[in-house]
Symmetry: C2
Subunit: 119 residues, 2 copies
DNA sequence: CCTATATTCACCCTTATGGGTGAATATAAA
DNA sequence: TTTATATTCACCCATAAGGGTGAATATAGG
């Protein structure tokens, strides 16, 4: 509500909105890797991989260390914390829904039990 | 990694990647609202609002109840749970980073204390 | 110096966003 | 029945994604 131009969150959520990029993050969670190594792991070109990395860097989720001609990418999950915080506020809503669903199921089961006793 | 075409997560993260849509979700967290009501709360046209709502619906974050000519939108935070779960895996990484940073700061402080005693 | 490797730059193409306007549609109300 | 309201549909425009290819750049290694 207060927020309106939180471009930081924009970038983080955008970065995570693509399956290939999520897979790159998962890969980097195992160990650092170079651009070419990442490209080999996915069915897309080196150039395409490079572009995905740029989007991840923009979100701050990946850090680049240039060592000569090699660029070593490192996972930096930090920015996810802010995204989690934002979503945390909504936890009450889905947990409330689940609780309501549970209540419904339990009441329904008791109802059914009463019915079966009458028969 | 295992996942690769999780279009559900794609849709949820995409829906949350825009400030206006995040604001709409925050608004609906207060109470249900009609399309026109939402449009009045934001500096964009009714049509643009309608499009944002479609994207939120695609992600399952908003539900529509048509009552005559009025469409009542309801927040459905459920799909955020899956997104949270996905991000939860990465918590270790940013918490680890924070812990490492804390260690560094503490050691640095002690170092500085030793130095000031020597002077 | 020459060559191979690692990445990016500069493009092309297609589709999706994000914004707009005006018209069509559906329903409520006079 | 006519009119007003609520929402969407059909477009237009600009920009960003997501994919590709070929060339340029930078550095490592003979």
């Amino acid at each position: 509500m207060g927020e309106y131009k939180n471009t930081k969150l924009d970038d983080v959520f955008t970065a995570m909105s693509d399956g290939t990029r999520r897979a790159i993050l998962a890969r980097l969670a195992q160990s650092d890797a170079r651009v070419t190594e990442l490209a080999n792991d996915f069915p897309i070109s080196l150039n395409s991989t490079s572009k995905h990395i740029r989007i991840l860097e923009r979100a701050g989720l990946v850090t680049r260390a240039v060592q000569g001609r090699e660029h070593v990418l490192t996972l930096n999950a930090g920015p996810m914390a802010e995204a989690m915080e934002w979503m945390e506020y909504y936890r009450q809503f889905w947990e409330h829904s689940l609780a309501a669903l549970e209540d419904f199921v339990i009441k329904k089961r008791k109802q059914d039990q009463r019915r079966s006793k009458k028969q």
